[in-house]
Amino acid sequence: MKVSTNDAVRSDLFVKKTDRSWRALLVIVVGLCVLVISMAFSLTQGVVQMPLSAAWDALMHFTPGSMQHLIIQDLRLPRVLASALVGAALAVAGAVMQGITQNPMADSGLMGLNAGASFMLSLCFAFVPGLSYSYIILYSFLGASISAGMVYGISSLQRGGATPMRLVLAGIAVSALLAAIGHGIAIYFGVAQDIAFWTAGGVAGTTWQQLRILFPCIVVTLFAAILLSRSISLLSLGEEIAQGLGLRVNSVKFAAALVVLVLAGASVSVVGPVGLVGLIIPHIARYLVGVDYRWIIPSSAVLGSLLLVLADLGARMLNPLHETPIGAIIALIGVPFFLYLARKQRREA
């Protein structure tokens, strides 16, 4: 697997460059158009349906007295924006992880980052009730980094290094441990319901206040990821090669890890532990635009946004009176994909 990918990367990086760039640009532009259309459509759908013109009016000529305008401005717009942001964040986190670990199974959910972040959430709820949102985000970064450190550290202790199997197993065990402790604490302090409410709601309860913190946080980190993308491409060739080409491997890895932690932590603090976005999207992006991370990362961002906006739309429309958790919808799409990847794995990969 490794050898063949490396060859593909090499030929892709140095031979068919222009051809691939046009294709990638096309994917991004078309993706953005579809994204904007589905976001607009998403504004009009829900328990109260309204024409597109009403949504347009609500954005452009907001009248405080209008019920429709209030629904759009206060409920749906933050929600749609949050799902777009979180989708981009999760997908890019997955892409960066897959690039630096050269591991096709890397994903923030499978690697225990989500569990770490939500573990910290339950600690916050139990011990410091009424904590402000910016602190909650900070703590979920902290939780994500603790669990990521545990998973990666444990799975790369042995000589074989962090193989896909080891990463997945370590991710499961760390998730199970943190989930169990978090669950115990939640039951003991009687905050289980608050947490369930927080995480199961998906993007439904997002407020403008949350968005004000999230938006700069995620956008800045996404730009950082794009700046790093060339180095990540080189790293995905293998560490020796990257070093040979003059890359400072360790500092790139550190920066990339920081990017992943911020993106995963911020996402969990909004939607709760949604897995598999970071697994599926980079694979699709790679299929569409080739193996150069300078294209994979931006197109993952666009496609991830699109996936989450559509999943959120599905969450509202499947059963209009209840919210279907967005994580469940994504898992129903993502699991067959995961099974396909598992089937493709070689014996000892």
């Binding site: 199974m105 499978l110 545990m150 444990i154 799975s155 202790l157 042995q158 000589r159 074989g160 193989t163 896909p164 199997m165 080891r166 997945v168 197993l169 370590a170 499961i172 065990a173 760390v174 199970a176 441990l177 989930a179 169990a180 402790i181 669950h183 115990g184 039951i187 003991y188 289980a192 199961a200 897995g275 598999l276 059963n319 209840h322 919210e323 279907t324 958790p325 994580g327 469940a328 919808i329 994504i330 898992a331 129903l332 993502g334 699991v335 067959p336 995961f338 099974l339 990847l341 598992a342 089937r343 794995q345 014996r347 000892e348 990969a349």
Partner: protein, 342 residues
Amino acid sequence: MGSTGQQKKKKSSKFIAVLLVLGILLVLSIIFSMKSGYTHLTFHDLLRILLGGGSDKENLVLFTFRMPRIIIAMLVGAGLALSGCIIQGIARNALADPGLLGINAGAGLMVVLFVLLFPTKTALSVFTLPFLALIGAGVAAVLIYLLAYKNLEGLSPLRLILTGVGMQVGISAAMIVLVILLDESQFNFVTVWQAGRIWGASWKFVIALLPWLLVLVPYVFFKARVLDVLGVGEEIAWGLGVSVERERRMLLAAAVALAASCVAVSGNISFVGLIAPHLARRLVGLGHQILLPCCALTGALLVSISDILARTLVQPSEIPTGIVVAVVGAPYFLYLLAKSGR
């Protein structure tokens, strides 16, 4: 294997010693478990109640609440441990476990469906639940087997585990969708089941669980040699005249049935099937004839100790037993993962 008579003798005496020690520990844990809980009983009280001299209230606490729960904890521990031991033997992978392979999740999905469709828990339902769990677990297991099986390469352990993980994620997602449809009391039941609290703490459940174990456990012990042979490798097993694929399927079916019937009563307790075989292997080595009984005892001990902790750590409330098992089990699993060679 190839050991001289003297070594064999030494081995069997060591085996008897291990079994004895485990047995004594188990009895101690039973006594301690009977004593502890919301109403604490002294050793003296316990003796008096057991001999028939207890007050009505004491009799109620001991015979109606604690005893069935202790027995269920032990049976479930033994059943899950055996199931894990078989699966590890078949997959030839030391990190396999019924929970990890999505079998518990399959059983859980059926439990949720059952709660959804038949809200009233009648006496009949107690006995149908293991069957339903078995169907769910069986379907999950067959799917995993089919998805992980490739014509030329057979059943690779890596694919088996990754497929199981995928299946588990998928089933939990389906479960979340279903859980929304439940009303509040059903929802509470399912959450508690998920966390692995031994919920059916009454004699009815002991009677519902026992026949399964009485049939399956002897069968598994009877097949110990086959497990040994399967562990040596497929070619050699063929050479020794074992029809590999058929035996594998039969044993897998037994493992699924064990896990499903236990999970139906105890809720989602994971990691026992993983850890108990490891501890047992450390104590008595690889031969399944000795390993299986030792494994059953270790599993019973693990769950019964976890259950004591679950009941006593945060009185007057109670942690689900599955959480205690996970808090102990997950670090041990990580330790195994860090240590394992590949």
